[in-house]
């Protein structure tokens, strides 16, 4: 079985690395943001930074669904799970995300809340069917990639007339977040973050296509290269970005043509449009309230909306003041700029969401890359 090895070939990686080194102007520096946590993980997991010249820097973006969920939403989920009639189904990563006052779903589960770890929306549906006496709520999170499966689950639940299945919807949209970063004072006025180009999302783009990025490339004059999540994809995308910068181009290029079409996946988009509508605004950790960046169920599917069925209130909760997750998610700070990093905040005892998911910038650097900090300190 050949599987994915051809996208992880060390020989090809070295050849690409040599190209990048050759073509990057030594008198210039290049700052590229990889939006997706999937890319952040690949960069750390395969040590891609080691293969790039010093003047090509990667900035981690906010594209980690677990990381961008604000504390208030975690608190709301915990409150929901504590209701005796509710069984809350969630992806494993969310279990450890800290809520207010040191709470988490994991601790709520240990204290007796009925919380189940699931691998997909269909698992949650199955539980709802098997346990009709329980109110089964699926904690729906994620970008455009995970939204179609949730939409499908709603449609199945409607067809089966399931009365005990709802979702706590936290689906968010990538283009709104990228726009928010590019319009933020950090980037525009203060110049605290220099972004010369974006590595565009892999899986998200398979759904939404490459067209939505044309706006950024044109309006903000930033090149975008959509790339797959394998390490060679990332290397090649970096080379393509370097070339665009050198040529003074701001195009949307598609490195991930084996999966991404310009128009995306029409069927999945139609499925989502049938079930969901835009929220006026949605809170992101780090970015604050971002207009038209989140989804909720349409009125016709209101009976599957946990927020409506359980009259859930919006909970406003402050991040730990010392935690730099917000600035890290905006690309303003690096994990090592945070005083908590590696001291009180580690994957075992995360203080902020970026230390929880393997796609989070802090967890990725702690788990895979922190030896470089010591190498740097020693030299």
């Amino acid at each position: 079985m050949r599987h994915a090895d051809e996208y992880r070939d060390g020989r090809l990686a070295r050849a690409l690395a040599a190209r990048v080194a050759q073509e990057a102007n030594p008198a210039a520096s290049y700052h590229f943001m990889e939006f997706c946590g999937g890319h952040t993980h690949a960069i750390s997991r395969y040590g891609i930074q080691d293969l790039l010249p010093d003047n090509v820097r990667m900035i981690h973006g906010p594209g980690c669904p677990v990381c961008v969920l604000p504390i208030g939403r975690i608190d709301a989920a915990i409150k929901l799970a504590e209701r005796p009639e509710v069984t809350l189904c969630t992806y494993g990563d969310l279990m450890r995300v800290p809520g207010s006052h040191g709470t988490s779903l994991l601790k709520a589960k240990a204290a007796g809340a009925n919380i189940r770890m699931v691998y997909s929306t269909t698992d949650a549906l199955r539980i709802a069917e098997a346990e009709p006496e329980r109110e089964v709520v699926f904690f729906a999170i994620g970008f455009e990639t995970t939204t179609p499966p949730t939409a499908l689950a709603i449609r199945i639940a409607a067809a089966k007339k399931l009365k005990n299945f709802t979702i706590f919807c936290n689906h968010v949209l990538t283009p709104s977040a990228i726009q928010n970063i590019l319009e933020s004072p950090d980037v525009r006025e203060l110049g605290r973050v220099r972004i010369d180009g974006f590595i565009g999302p892999a899986h998200v783009s398979t759904v939404i296509g490459s067209q939505p990025y044309a706006f950024f490339a044109e309006e903000f004059e930033k090149p975008v290269v959509i790339a797959g999540f394998e390490p060679l994809d990332v290397m090649q995308a970096v080379l393509m970005l370097v070339r665009q910068v050198n040529d003074g181009r701001c195009d949307v290029e598609n490195q991930y043509a084996r999966a991404v079409k310009p128009e995306g996946n029409e069927k999945a988009k139609a499925e989502v449009a049938e079930i969901f509508e835009l929220r006026k605004s949605f809170e992101w950790r780090g970015l604050g309230l971002v207009p038209y960046s989140g989804l909720r169920l349409k009125e016709a599917y209101a009976e599957f909306d946990a927020e409506r069925r359980f009259a859930m209130e919006d909970i406003q909760a402050e991040d730990n003041p010392a935690c730099e997750c917000g600035a890290i998610l905006r690309g303003v700070k690096k994990p090592t700029d945070c005083k908590l990093f590696g001291t009180v905040c580690t994957p075992e005892t995360p203080m902020g969401s970026c230390m929880v998911s393997s796609e989070g910038a802090c967890a990725a650097h702690w788990t895979y890359g922190r030896f470089r900090d010591h190498v740097r300190a020693a030299s």
Binding site: M1, G47, I48, Q49, L51, F371
Partner: protein, 348 residues
Amino acid sequence: MTVKTYKRKLDFKNGRVDLSHGSGGRAMTQLIADIFHEALDNAWLRRGNDQSAFDVIGGRMVMTTDGYVVSPIFFPGGDIGSLAVHGTINDVAMAGAQPIYLAAGFIIEEGFALADLKRVADSMGEAARSAGVPIITGDTKVVERGKADGVFITTTGVGVVPDGLDLSSEKARPGDKVILSGTIGDHGVAVMSKRQNLTFETTIVSDSAALHQLVAAMVEADGPALRVMRDPTRGGLAATLNELAHQSKVGFRFSEDALPIKPEVAAACDLLGLDPLYVANEGKLVAIVAPEAAEDILAAMQAHPFGRDAAIIGEAVADDHHFVQMTTSFGGGRIVDWLSGEQLPRIC
């Protein structure tokens, strides 16, 4: 007048363990006799005592105990019974010792099918016989439905350390070679493939095996050169190397290219978002050995069926941070850290 008592046979077709099987009465005696004594039969058990006496052998002995709660109970390549024998034999063997006796404790949930219990006991008996390590005493408890999950097994093992050996976790030193006895991740992926909400088609089977004969071959090749051995079960190779790094106050460096891993295991891990370095093994060992003896020990391992794919994967280095570092196949460097949280609950 003597009344001939009629004893109803255990119903292996439809019967289930009920609370009377744990009550200390006839039902319990029958359960133990007809399932456990039948399956594990040996001279010690036949005497029917609550303990077994055995002669003490001169020299140093090792003793270990381990609980088994794997879910599902039956998985490709093994079951909780064979696992409970292999796992404890391996913990004894990792001291360089030859295991001689086992003890087994069972916690059974009310309602557990007698047929399944027999299957587990038979599998234990078979594993113990083929390893040549008898189970000489045991205990059975039954708990109410919902207080356990089918059956939990605890096994205890004792073994004898050959003269001149003193393996211990603090003994790795810079320059020592790290030998891995074979492919990683097989057990965890095999168990995972049968999880209720995750069933996927695969030909992967658990590597569950007793490694004491492999260890005997290594001891014969160059026992004194063995610094420390460990079986990378829960937490996988990553956890084992991190534990040893901290206990020995060294770092480890190894190369991803040197790791033996089956392509189908790598593919399944990719699919499930797992890193094979963290996935449990039940028939593999990691040996830290003196560099000058590494090739001889490796050759002895490769000559044994359970060490056929053995490889030198890296070495211990001086490192105050005790980092385990890997050069990826891609060419970059990374840390192989402890696992945080549970990657796969109840894998053994």
